[in-house]
């Protein structure tokens, strides 16, 4: 695996497309247990992300990721803006100055993203948040490191998906859904869902690359 700045930009653009395609779906999920804006907020943010990173092929990967983070922080608002914003900014710091990312870099930046979200949101696993999709994915990446990046990445996507689906069975303890108590049961968390969609898209981009 080797991702240069141009490829990184492609991946982020693909994530932006995916989020935009799922604008209604994410909002729908948020309307059940939140305030019905997650898809709106995220797609608004990624629209600006795409504007800001277009033409940044000449910059290093760290700068690009930090730009994504800044764009999300300054446009999304709500809970997901600072959370995903911090995640991307931390990811960028983790790979600062690099023009090319390898598998180890990917692990580094994903770990940094997870830490950023946990720092900002103070949520742990099992509280029905983004963490429930992201943490299993990061763990899977590390656990299956030796199998090579392709296999590990597939495991990570699977883990994120299971984590996302499992949010249906847990009561929210963080974020707006926590106000619902037991009424949050049975509903899949919007943030965990957007997180899964991002990981899945990234993987498809990277695996497609490998196969090609």
């Amino acid at each position: 695996m080797a991702v240069d700045s141009a490829k990184l930009i492609d991946i982020i653009k693909a994530i932006a497309d995916k989020i935009t395609e799922n604008r209604e779906y994410l909002t729908e999920l948020d309307s059940a247990i939140g305030d019905a804006d997650h898809g709106i907020n995220m797609s608004k943010g990624f629209k600006v992300v795409v504007e800001r990173i277009s033409g940044m092929e000449g910059k290093d990967c760290g700068t690009i990721l930090k730009t994504v983070g800044m764009a999300l922080v300054s446009t999304v608002g709500g809970a997901s803006g600072p959370l995903y914003g911090t995640a991307f900014m931390r990811a960028g710091q983790a790979v600062d100055g690099k023009n090319q990312l390898n598998f180890e870099d990917l692990i580094l930046l994903m770990e940094a993203a997870l830490e950023g979200i946990k720092y900002r949101g103070k949520a742990g696993r099992g509280e029905k948040t983004i963490v429930d999709a992201l943490e299993p994915a990061v763990e899977a990446l590390k656990l299956h490191r030796e199998k090579g990046f392709e296999a590990a990445l597939k495991e990570a996507v699977e883990a994120a998906k299971r984590g996302m689906e499992d949010t249906k069975n847990i009561m929210a303890k963080k974020g707006r859904a926590s106000y619902l108590g037991e009424r949050s049961l049975g509903h899949q968390d919007p943030g965990a869902t957007s997180c899964y969609l991002m990981i899945e898209t990234m993987a498809l981009q990277l695996l497609g690359d490998k196969k090609a």
Partner: protein, 332 residues
Amino acid sequence: MKKLINNPELVVEEMLEGMVRAFPQYVRKLEGYNVIVRVDAPVKGKVALVSGGGSGHEPSHAGYVGKGMLDAGVAGSVFTSPTPDQIFEAIKAVDGGAGVLLIIKNYTGDVMNFEMAADMARAEGIDVESVIVNDDVAVENSTYTVGRRGIAGTVFVHKIAGAKAQAGGTLEEVKAVAEKVIKNVRSMGMALTPCIVPAAGKPTFEIGEDEMEIGMGIHGEPGTMRTKIKKADEIVNHLMEKILADLPLEDGAEVAVMVNGLGGTPLMELFILNRRVNQILEEKGIKVYRTYVGEFMTSLEMAGASITLLKLDDELKSLLDAPADTPAFKQL
């Protein structure tokens, strides 16, 4: 979606423009940011108050920018917390050298965005403190939640902390009195209908023709209970029971009352609610010092209401009585 708007994506910008055009004697807008500040900001030597949150709660918060209340109101997208850079700009624009108090409603997003802004401002050497309002007793405060939500009681924080700042209080003093209000204010609301976020274009939830939602949040978040519509008096009985269970008031205590409409409920109905609120307080020997009835913290066109009680002492009474002159809250 029946709304008097032009473009769902531009409602906040156009609203703020319409507001500034209506009240140039009170407020101006920061160029490039959805931030409304006092026309005479920064007021040298006065502690500045900044509040804000998602839009759709008008007149909160920009409507309370003016003498005796806020120095800046920061407007996020509809029902979405504003971003740190917006809040940071607001802080910079109103800081008059005596420090800035951020008044934050307790939502994960608001708390995170305001905290990030506070960090940015502190990094520039501005003295920033914050308080978090959590007056909504609908959701029990337990280890399983992020605490209670902030709703209409926030307006009492604006009023009283604003009066303290106007009177020359220090940042520490203004923060202390804001926290006293927060400790003594409780609210609870209910809704009869949902509202439509312009960018979403459809109702935030569905509800039957004969149903109501008790404990409804101000962003269309589900409440604690859905039941058949009851008579106004029964609804008030329920809300007051919850509020009084959380804010024990001895015989002879004095309170300020706010009966707040969520946007679609006519004033007539709010007065009918206040009648029962007042009866209950009278029965319990609690004295009503001042009552506010109207729209203070809304939820777009949602039909419904919230009730807020603020327990008063002499300090809070005199600050509540102080004059205020803002677009949406005036007191002579």
